[in-house]
């Protein structure tokens, strides 16, 4: 025992003093007690986390027991143990919600920033509404386009755009839709454009619906989990619980393929590196492996996919181009990408797979170039690693094993994003993993209600329920219905979109109410028609050109979220007015304010009038949000909005009623849709979520009888099923896929029975669209005779008259086993698509193209067509693309666990956990550049630069790609100059303004930068 002099004195002195105190009667009183339990009689309110799409249940604890004289204030938030997905857990974002609710950056009062001013000025709500309505009306009256150049009625307003918020409730979304479309706004967008646009494009065109196929809890049933293009341990930690559950309880193997060794990789069985932007090559290589090693589920492929259908003779693929390419317009004529039809309109097929043009044989030919050598060369993934992933995936081609694929923005954020997801869809169809518990393609959506805002169609060419906004060429309702209603090319196919007219007319009844009549085609003319896409990238190009006057920005920090932040900021300066509705201070609202080098602008030169209206946050409102598994979950308010903040419905109601008043008083351009909008709320200035939710569900507007004359619903009843919708004006529904969410039996979204009916299915919890189905395409979990492929994975059975079981059949409920009705009821052919007929913009089969900014001189597959031949880019953006000579490193942006987008930077608890911008670089590059961990580095692209701390790590690897070394730079995207974290740059200063060819979701991953020690 070694005792130093100091230690000795320490011990003796303290010993003596303590002993002496006791002797002199200073023995401490018996005060020992644990801290009082602080929740004993607090008010507990059920809500859902506002951040990601796992939709965790949270319990809000407020002061007071509900007495009228006590003002509720939330003082603690924790997980809801009853919630089937989260089971009481919250990730660091959710666990820090309290500091978001009480952030010092919460907005308190309506404010205005006058042209040229350097500061905000507090104004009254009355003044705000009056001024905003005046600006909007004057703009609309002056710039509303009633007819296009051809003289066709188009009724659109392009000089004003609107952004909805994917963190707002569905009820707010329905109000956004009504408000914007009644005014004729075409560019109505939300964050879905920036995240999972390609998902909808790819999955809907592969299986029929654009959503995650299974659900969070179901992941536990998997045998193999491939995480690629996603990082759920960081972006969806609580949903990832079920991937870990599969590992721990189902002996599953988890693999991660990612440009960096992420926190998901930290708990995976196997990690393989890949170059950002090379995922399609990897997956096409996997398809090649499955086909050339005969590792496919034959019976499934034959019965449930379009493998046997014959493709037209004029279809071909040559040197990177599919048939029908127009080099001048950079588009395809897609007519050859179709089935060969017989005289009866049905597709020809060859179930013996001998025909050279059957889909399966075309696919084999298409992917044979993707050998393991080629994959390794393009991706930088060592061949052995690639093959190991192939072998594991192939192990699920047997009937009793499944693989699930978890992905998110790592796949969507590319010019070829939708085609990467198409690859995954094809892999899972070949393996027979779609419709299977523990299988599927689990598109992990981002924001808490981005699924809902996609469902409600807060996207420029969409309408609620995946209906399309009419185009110029659809001048009449008849044109629209004819062009939008598909014909089935396969006998017996359900082809559920044959009901398009019923969904559409019911929507018109919801939108225009009694003003929608058969005589006026249910108000069809009042809807704005579109001539081209006004998605975020293209609309911002117009803003940049000074062609837009106004923007309504609700809960969307567009300056931080859009690529090329500086250009976005400079564009906003060209607006005449902008209305920001947000709970928090954002860089968007204060784009005109000088923040040193982070935002170096001259306020006096910016003439935009900016209104900043404080809104409630999730914890202060009631309503529903849709999680990634399509669960519509109802939540309740735990406190009142702070200070003068208002609910979104009240804010929109205030502006709309003021506009309506002006149109009534003054008249104006095309006032009909504004005046005829169905806004019959009990208080039109403050629509309540309950009444909007019912309106979304839909009503019987007359007594409804079935074909045998039995009463289905009385006039005025809430509908219980979208099967009851009519196209004669006797039903209304503002979002047909949500029908069933609030029926005569009550609010189905508020249900809280978490009984597991088998395989983790909890049909009594909330309401899952469509029709409360929990696993999509679940009929495909059984063979044609109705026998489950795997007896341990039986979700459904035929009871003699209908399908029943632990889930609701995603099928014609009365189509008996052996009836030959194919399982993908939302696709015209009813078959999963290995070949995507006519729908994708860039090819019926996926192909690897290099990112817009590529580290390679040319695409090794076809050097002449290196990059996407159809990706759209605007001149102003293209001028800001960099080259490999100037910017030699591949950058990828992403989210980290502690932070959620640009929201958590306002929450102290999260700021403590990740206070400051950092970038991740490999040890090799760091050594080359003389950078040590913790050094400040400057990362620059053609579009600007940011600074951050260097995290030098083994987890980012130097890759060998096509004979050259490629270094990748990891850039988390969370900080800014507003917030509680350290002030910093917006990471999106670096990313380029170009989008996925199908959905125009920007290429935030795989662009070029340079790095140096700052």
């Amino acid at each position: 025992m070694q005792v130093t002099r100091r230690q000795f004195f320490k011990v003796t002195a303290a010993g003596l003093s303590a002993s002496s105190l006791a002797v002199l009667g200073y023995a401490p009183a018996a005060l020992a007690e644990v801290r009082q339990f602080k929740l004993t009689r607090a008010t507990e309110t059920r809500n859902n986390c506002t951040y990601c799409s796992v939709g965790c249940g949270v319990l809000l604890y407020s002061m007071g027991d509900g007495a009228k004289n006590a003002k509720k204030k939330i003082f603690h938030v924790e997980g809801d143990p009853d919630h089937p997905v989260s089971r009481g857990s919250l990730c660091p974002k959710g666990a820090g919600l309290l500091d978001y609710v009480h952030s010092p950056q919460r907005l308190k009062y309506p404010e205005v920033r006058e042209p040229g001013s350097k500061e905000w000025k507090r104004i009254s709500w009355e003044e705000a509404n009056e001024r905003i309505a005046r600006l909007m009306k004057d703009d609309r009256d002056a710039n509303f386009i009633q007819k296009n150049d051809k003289g066709e009625l188009v009724n659109r307003w392009l000089s004003c755009g609107m952004l909805g918020s994917s963190a707002a409730s569905n009820e707010t979304g329905i109000l956004d839709f009504k408000f914007a479309r009644a005014l004729g706004i075409v560019s109505l967008e939300n964050q879905a454009r920036l995240c999972h646009g390609p998902t909808v494009a790819a999955l809907a065109r592969s299986f029929g619906r654009g959503a995650m196929t299974n659900n969070w809890v179901d992941i536990k049933n998997a045998n193999v989990i491939l995480v690629m293009g996603g990082n759920p341990a960081e972006a969806h930690p609580v949903g990832f619980k079920w991937a870990v559950e599969a590992k721990v309880k189902n002996n599953a193997t988890m693999m991660v393929v990612d440009p960096r060794f992420s926190r998901t990789a930290a708990v995976a069985d196997f990690y393989a590196p890949i170059r950002a932007g090379a995922d399609a090559a990897f997956l096409l290589g996997l398809i090649n492996y499955l086909l050339s090693n005969d590792k496919i589920q034959h019976e499934y492929v034959k019965s449930y996919t379009n493998a046997s259908l014959i493709v037209r003779e004029d279809f071909n693929f040559n040197e990177g181009l599919f048939s029908g390419y127009n080099a001048e317009k950079r588009t395809y004529d897609k007519s050859s990408w179709a089935y060969e039809l017989a005289g009866d309109g049905l597709a020809l097929k060859d179930e013996s797979f001998q025909h050279p043009r059957c889909v399966l044989n075309l696919l084999k030919k298409h992917v044979e170039r993707y050998t393991p050598e080629m994959v390794s060369s393009i991706c930088g993934t060592p061949q052995a690693d690639f093959l190991r992933v192939c072998e594991q995936m192939a192990s699920t081609s047997v009937a009793n094993r499944t693989a699930t694929i978890l992905y998110a923005l790592g796949w969507t954020h590319h010019t070829g994003g939708a085609q990467i997801i198409r690859c995954a869809a094809m892999v899972q169809l070949l393996l027979g993993n779609i419709g299977m518990p523990g299988g599927g393609i689990n598109a992990l959506r981002g924001h808490s209600n981005v699924q809902g805002f996609t469902d409600i169609g807060i996207l420029n060419t969409a309408l609620p329920g995946y209906l399309a906004l009419p185009q110029d060429k659809q001048q009449t309702l008849k044109d629209y219905v004819e062009q939008r209603t598909p014909k089935a090319p396969v006998a017996g196919s359900v082809n559920y979109w044959k009901n398009t007219s019923k969904f559409f007319v019911s929507l018109m009844k919801g939108l225009w109410g009694e003003h929608a009549t058969p005589e006026n085609s249910f108000g069809y003319d009042w809807l704005p028609k579109w001539d081209r896409s006004y998605d975020l990238l293209s609309f911002f190009d117009l803003v940049h050109q000074g062609k837009v006057n106004g923007y309504i920005v609700q809960g969307f920090n567009v300056v931080a979220a859009m690529p090329d932040s500086r250009k976005v900021r400079d564009s906003l300066a060209k607006l005449k007015y902008m209305v920001v509705i947000d709970p928090l201070q954002t860089e968007t609202a204060s784009f005109w304010q000088n923040h040193g080098e982070f935002n170096d602008v001259d306020s006096s030169q910016i003439q935009t009038t900016v209104f900043r209206l404080p809104s409630s946050c999730f914890a202060e409102e009631s309503g529903s949000i849709a999680n990634s598994g399509r669960w519509l979950q109802w939540h309740w308010a735990g406190q009142e909005p702070p200070y003068e903040a208002r609910h979104d419905g009240r804010i929109l109601g205030g502006i709309y009623m003021k506009l309506k008043e002006l149109y009534e008083k003054e008249g104006g351009t095309c006032p009909e849709p504004v005046l005829n909008l169905n806004w019959h709320y009990h208080d039109p200035y403050d629509p309540h979520p309950e009444e909007v939710a019912k309106e979304a569900n839909g009503y019987a507007l007359a007594d409804l009888l079935d074909d045998k004359g039995n009463l289905i619903a009385k006039k005025g009843d809430l509908l219980s099923s979208f099967a009851h919708l009519r196209d004669d004006g006797t039903t209304s529904s503002c979002c047909w896929i949500y029908t069933g969410q609030w029926t005569q039996a009550g609010n189905m979204m508020a249900r809280r029975d978490n009984t597991d009916t088998g395989l983790g299915c909890t049909p009594g919890w909330a309401f899952s669209w469509p029709a409360n189905r929990r696993v999509l395409y679940n009929r495909a979990s059984m063979d044609e005779s109705g026998k489950p492929w795997d007896p341990k994975r039986a979700l459904l059975h035929w009871d003699g008259t209908k399908w029943t079981g632990s889930d609701v059949a995603d099928y014609a409920a009365t189509a008996a086993p052996g009836s030959g009705v194919p399982p993908f009821i939302m696709l015209p052919e009813g078959l999963g698509r290995l070949f995507s007929v006519g729908a994708m913009y860039d090819g019926p089969f996926p192909e690897h193209y290099e990112p817009t900014e590529s580290p390679l001189a040319a695409n090794p597959l076809h050097p002449e067509v290196s990059k996407s031949p159809v990706a759209r880019s605007f001149k102003a953006d293209a001028e800001r693309f960099g080259t490999r000579e100037e910017f030699p490193f591949v950058a990828t942006t992403y989210s980290i666990t502690e932070m959620f987008r640009h929201w958590t930077k306002h929450a102290r608890l999260n700021a403590i956990a990740q206070p400051e911008q950092f970038v991740e670089i490999s040890e090799k590059l760091a050594a080359k550049k003389g950078i040590k961990a913790g050094d400040e580095v400057k990362v620059s692209s053609k579009r600007g630069f940011i600074r951050g701390k260097a995290v030098v790590t083994k987890r980012v690897m130097t890759l060998q790609v096509a004979g050259q070394e490629v270094e990748q730079i990891g850039i988390p995207c969370h900080w800014g100059y507003e917030g509680t974290t350290r002030k910093g740059f917006l990471a999106n200063t670096l990313s380029p303004g170009i989008g996925d060819a199908n959905s125009q979701t920007p290429e935030y991953k795989g662009f070029l930068v340079n790095v140096e020690k700052a």
Binding site: K10, A22, A32, E33, F37, C91, P237, E245, E898
Partner: protein, 301 residues
Amino acid sequence: MSMQSQDIIRRSATSSLTPPPQARDHKLEVAKLIDVSICIGCKGCQVACSEWNDIRDEVGHNHGVYDNPVDLTAKSWTVMRFAEHQDEGGPLQWLIRKDGCMHCSDPGCLKACPSPGAILQYANGVVDFQSEQCIGCGYCVAGCPFNVPRINKEDNKAYKCSLCSDRLAVGQEPSCVKTCPTGAIQFGTKEDMKLVAAGRIKDLQARGFKNAGLYDPEGVGGTHVMYVLHHADRPELYSNLPKDPQISATVSLWKGMLKPLATLGLAAAGLFGFLHYTTVGPNRADEEEEHEEKETEEVSK
């Protein structure tokens, strides 16, 4: 809630002549099990801990690593420690460990503490600090083989994880346990946690981690916070988790002195001590020695 209801089995600086009430010792021994192999280092536990306990640390800086805050503080009672590890020719591993109080069965902090009743051990195994009694001497810091307690400069009192003794008292699990997204932190009786650990170790061994095992070190009589480690043979890989933690020599000496003092008669010693305290003041280490000790510590790290 008075002290008597607290099932205290040990109390700092309390001689055997005046022990804490002992009768309520028939209680389940609890434990928190941290399965490092399924920990994603999300820091959910870190945030939930601060939220539940109403503490907010400073917003710091990034130091070139994911660790933030970089160390335990009086206002960060648990932190995640990240270590990149690669054996020759083996795959890269990111070993992430939640650090915080281990709630030792034989707590060095409690043994070292000179202030009566400032540190308690309950029958369920929780080691809790009583701030009212804390004199801020920092002996608990020196006495802790895991370097956990921290002195708050604002009030000169020591702080650390209480295992959410307030939640436990009403039958709830600790805040960090509840929030953990992946189930890497579990809570129950120590017996049950050992069973859970055994299952996990079996799984890890089947996945090729031959040395997977439970960390429940004997040197401190076992702990009420245990780890499942893939490399139980090398705990130091996990950001220097001590391989064989022992209560320090200093503390043992101190315990050795108290007992003879008690037998010799507290009065005499007490009087002497009181005089010493009031005339000379409390003993303080001079800066040079303080510095020396720090250096030694760093070397030993």
